[in-house]
């Protein structure tokens, strides 16, 4: 087994433990690269059938290309797709036009997720977060409990070793099951390459019509706050090569992370992925 085989095996193990432990669970899906690897691994874990719903938290600031991809993938993978929009916040006028990105991210992502959780009563969410994305995510567990207020008690996390996980949940609590925790951005791309996993075209370099430079998205979020980085990588092979040498961080193009010091930690303690 090589290291991708090992990562795949551990992710599948986690998927199966989660499905076994929780009767009500769902998998948030953003259509991004990690999300599509999650779908792929779920198909493998359950021999072709994803036995729980897939949730897209639609901020209403989605790139149109991503929504096209969503329709395509829903059919391709036979997904039980649910879409959650925080209509109430949008009605109040919460949006990037008027509010800061941390507030908007919280309202349109975290609160929208909470609304879906309240509606469906999920005990567990399978997420695609990775340790290498952000220093707060580095401290995550595979099975990470959240209290009824969605808060992450990172000061007193349960022990987790030898593949024995925290699967007990109280009323209103849920567990984040982090199936990609050990993967790096490079691992994700190597796996996409090896398995030929379909992904949105926005990850590949295209000419920016405003300045004529070649750019690509390394991480995808809401269009007003997600920016492409300069890159000429137009194929997966070129992306892999680029990642082996780059020192620009993956989420550099995601404005909500950099809005203020510790923005990511604040977002995450309140329930953000």
């Amino acid at each position: 087994m090589n290291h991708l085989d090992r990562l795949e095996s551990q992710s599948i193990y986690i998927f199966r433990e989660a499905y076994q432990a929780f009767t009500k669970l769902a998998m948030p899906w953003s259509m991004g690269k990690d999300s599509n690897v999650l779908i792929w691994l779920a198909k493998k874990a359950f021999c072709g059938k994803i036995p729980f719903p897939v949730l897209h938290v639609d901020t209403t600031y989605e790139f149109p290309e991503m929504l096209e991809f969503r329709s395509w993938a829903q059919k391709e993978y036979d997904l039980d797709l649910l879409v959650s929009i925080n209509e109430e916040a949008r009605a109040r006028g919460v949006g990037y036009e008027t509010h800061d990105p941390v507030t908007v991210t919280h309202e349109l992502k975290t609160v929208a997720l909470q609304q879906a959780m309240a509606k469906h009563g999920w005990q567990a969410l399978i997420t695609g977060i990775r340790r290498d994305e952000d220093s707060t995510r580095a401290k995550e567990r595979y099975f990470s409990p959240r209290n009824a207020a969605f808060e992450w008690d990172y000061k007193d996390q349960p022990p987790e070793f030898w593949n024995q996980f925290t699967t007990a949940v109280g009323p209103g609590e849920h567990v984040r099951v982090q199936a990609l925790l050990d993967w790096t951005e490079l691992d994700i791309w190597l796996y996409i390459q090896r398995e030929k996993i379909p992904i949105p075209q926005m990850y590949f370099a295209r000419k920016d019509p405003t300045d004529g430079k070649l750019k690509r998205f390394r991480s995808l979020g809401c269009w007003p706050i997600t920016h492409p980085v300069e890159s000429s990588a137009a194929t997966i092979e070129e992306i892999v090569e680029e990642l082996k040498t780059t020192r620009v961080s993956e989420r550099a193009g995601r404005a909500q992370d950099h809005h203020e010091r510790n923005a990511m930690q604040k977002l995450r303690a309140k329930g953000f992925m």
Binding site: M1, N2, H3, L4, D5, R6, E8, S9, Q10, I12, Y13, R16, E17, Y19, Q20, K43, K44, A45, F46, C47, G48, K49, P51, R131, D132, S135, T136, A138, K139, R141, Y154, K155, Q157, P158, P159, E160, F161, W162, Q164, T166, A168, D182, T184, L186, D187, L190, E195, R247, V248, S249, N262, Q265
Partner: protein
């Protein structure tokens, strides 16, 4: 394709320089994101603080405030040879659970000792835990050599002291390296400051470690995680922890020892389907026969089977604030198996920082302690010795929702296991008679006869029902012997003459005693009017060693007659029933009841709780110690 990453954990006493070493490794191997070091340097200047390499890691606010690592962090870096994942595990005693969480997944370890402070409590404890976790690739780094003037003498002293400590644990450090993480001496490049040292620097020593191998030649252990029936297929999903399996192989499922043959290996998006699967793979199979297989079972081949037993010897460590108490019930998880288990004997309790054996006998294992113990499970489980097959040789004990501690099965536990007998098909893993002690150990309490006597309508049945329900919800096995019900069956040949009444009591007493011997808490609900007959039951129980309590359910005749729940008093007064106790047949109140309950003066709940307290006391196993959580009677 990228090379495999080696997972290393850096452990040691608090403030011995773990975060600094990691910061330095990242910096010296040029593994930081662009601008990260500069940003932190600027932030330090702005706040008037001296820059430290440890800040490179201190991502969370709390860490900066307290200046100690509170949780496991994973960081990647690369040497010229290969990529690494560093698990930064906290050194503070409070966070041992996090240290274990981090270290348990490591392939190798760096143990840091402050040369200025020497070997400290956590230096020893972490050494011990590394051995428990099965991590054998270890280097010891004596840090802060700059503070001791790069003294060879200091270094040699630490080396000999710590080598002595590690020896009985079976850990032989690959290298002892003198370093200064803060100044970068002997980290990524060999130092010039200590010409007396001729070994490798940290990075060279790390590069000398081996990648872990999962041996496909080891015996097959396929751990069943789940059974899927999404379509016409019945799929067994699980991971092969060691060995390999192929289509056509005959498998034995433990415990249970059902057999079947691998019909197919199921893999989505794979055409043709694979014909074999190997160690480390999460796979899925179908079988030729529809045998009953469930989560938790371990499949092996016919030869080289796991052990199957209800008892084994293990080394355990405890992490929970609440101590692990002798005989308390805990959920034990081994692989995907889950079973109720108790530690029934502490062979020896170790102070993990001194390796001193506790001399006084103990009934509990406290936080951060370790022990060799005898574990007994409620039903048989399958396992291996950790030394041979680590994954099926280690387990955790839950304390409530959380992992309370972990353990490894010792070789001694396996003994002459049943594998050779598998073929014969009639294996007994329990030899000899099941003793009363065995039964009470299984149930967690002793059996007993609670004899409730009183007038008709005094409240015996009501109280018995309330008490049984309370006992049941506390996990205690109980049963009501009701006078009326007995008369429908066992005593249907008896009437209400004094002689028949005496015989009725005798039979009820014998049945109650037998049931109590089987482990039940028997609540009798019989008028049982005669002192002599009741005392005979008491003597019979005493002779058999069955705990007995006489409970007088006392309500005055007037009160009973007012209640008259079934209209019997009315009929007796009208002469329609003859020989009715209290009306035209005597009731002799118990002379010395263990408990008297005035149901006309106290609420039923109050009476029930008094009775419960008596029962819990009476059925408690002697010398036993239980936590509130697992003690069925503690909440009363």
């Amino acid at each position: 394709m990228q090379e495999d990453k080696l997972k290393i954990v850096i452990v040691g006493h608090v403030d011995h320089g773990k975060s600094t070493l990691i910061g330095r490794l990242l910096f010296d191997t040029d593994s930081l994101p662009l601008g990260k070091a500069e940003n932190i340097q600027k932030a330090c200047e702005a706040e008037g603080m001296e820059f430290e390499y440890a800040f490179l890691l201190d991502a969370l606010l709390e860490e900066q405030a307290q200046n100690i690592t509170i949780d496991t962090t994973q960081i990647q870096f690369k040497s010229a040879k290969r990529p690494y994942v560093i698990i930064d595990a906290p050194g503070h005693r409070e966070f041992l659970k996090n240290m274990i969480t981090g270290a348990a997944s490591a392939d190798a370890a760096v143990l840091l000792i402050d040369a200025n402070e020497g070997v400290q409590e956590q230096s020893r404890r972490h050494g011990y835990l590394l051995s428990m976790l099965g991590i054998r690739q270890v280097i010891v780094a004596a840090n802060k050599m700059d503070l001791v003037g790069y003294s060879q003498e200091t270094f040699d002293r630490i080396r000999s002291e710590y080598t002595e400590y590690l020896k009985p644990l079976g850990i032989t450090p690959r290298h002892f390296v003198p370093i200064s993480a803060k100044l970068g001496e002997n980290i990524a490049v060999p130092t010039a400051k200590m010409p007396w040292y001729h070994g490798p620097c940290i990075l060279q020593a790390l590069d000398g470690f081996d990648m872990p191998v999962r041996d496909e030649k080891q015996p097959l252990r396929f751990l069943v995680q789940d059974i899927y029936r999404f379509d016409e297929r019945r799929i067994l999903a699980g991971r092969i922890e060691s060995g390999s399996l192929s289509v056509g192989d005959e498998l034995v499922f433990w415990p249970d020892r059902k057999r079947s043959t691998v019909k197919s290996i199921e893999l989505w998006n794979s055409d043709p389907a694979p014909l074999s699967a190997n160690a480390g793979q999460s796979t899925a199979i179908t079988l030729t026969d529809q045998i009953f297989v469930e989560r938790g079972q371990i499949a092996s081949h016919d030869k080289e089977c796991p052990a199957e037993a209800r008892e084994f010897v293990a080394n355990i460590f405890w992490l929970h604030d609440e101590p692990l108490r002798l005989d308390a019930a805990h959920e034990l998880k081994l692989g995907t198996q889950s079973v109720e288990a108790r530690v029934v004997k502490f062979h020896r309790i170790l102070d993990s920082s001194t390796l001193q054996v506790a001399t006084e006998p103990r009934l509990e294992l406290r936080k951060n302690e370790a022990a060799e113990v005898l574990v007994r499970t409620r039903r048989p489980i399958a396992f291996d010795a950790a030394e041979t097959l680590p994954v099926t040789g280690r387990f955790v004990l839950m304390q409530g929702k959380r992992i309370g501690g972990g353990g490894i099965v010792l070789d001694a536990a396996i003994g002459k296991n049943a594998q050779q007998e598998v073929k014969s098909g009639n294996i007994t893993w329990t030899v000899g008679r099941v003793s009363r002690e065995d039964r009470s150990a299984l149930l967690g309490h002793k059996g007993a006869v609670i004899w409730m006597s009183g007038l008709s309508g005094a409240g015996k049945s009501t109280l018995a029902v309330a008490t049984e329900s309370a006992l049941h919800s506390r996990g205690m096995a109980s049963f009501i012997l009701d006078g009326d019900n007995l008369r429908h069956g066992l005593c249907s040949d008896l009437g209400f003459s004094p002689k028949d009444r005496a015989e009725n009591i005798r039979r009820a007493g014998e049945v109650a005693k037998l049931m109590a011997e089987s482990g039940m808490i028997v609540l009798t609900s019989l008028i049982s009017p005669y002192e002599q007959e009741r005392e005979r039951v008491r003597q019979s129980c005493a002779a058999a060693g069955v705990p007995f309590a006489m409970v007088y359910i006392n309500a005055p005749l007037g009160a009973c007659e007012d209640r008259d729940p079934r209209g019997l008093y009315k009929k007796a007064r009208a002469g329609e029933i003859k020989g009715f106790t209290g009306i035209d047949s005597p009731y002799e109140p118990p002379a010395k009841p263990e408990l008297e309950l005035r149901t006309d003066q106290k609420e039923i709940i109050v009476c029930r709780d008094e009775l419960l307290a008596l029962i819990v006391e009476l059925t408690r196993r002697t010398g036993q110690y239980r936590s509130e959580e697992s003690d069925p009677g503690a909440a009363i």
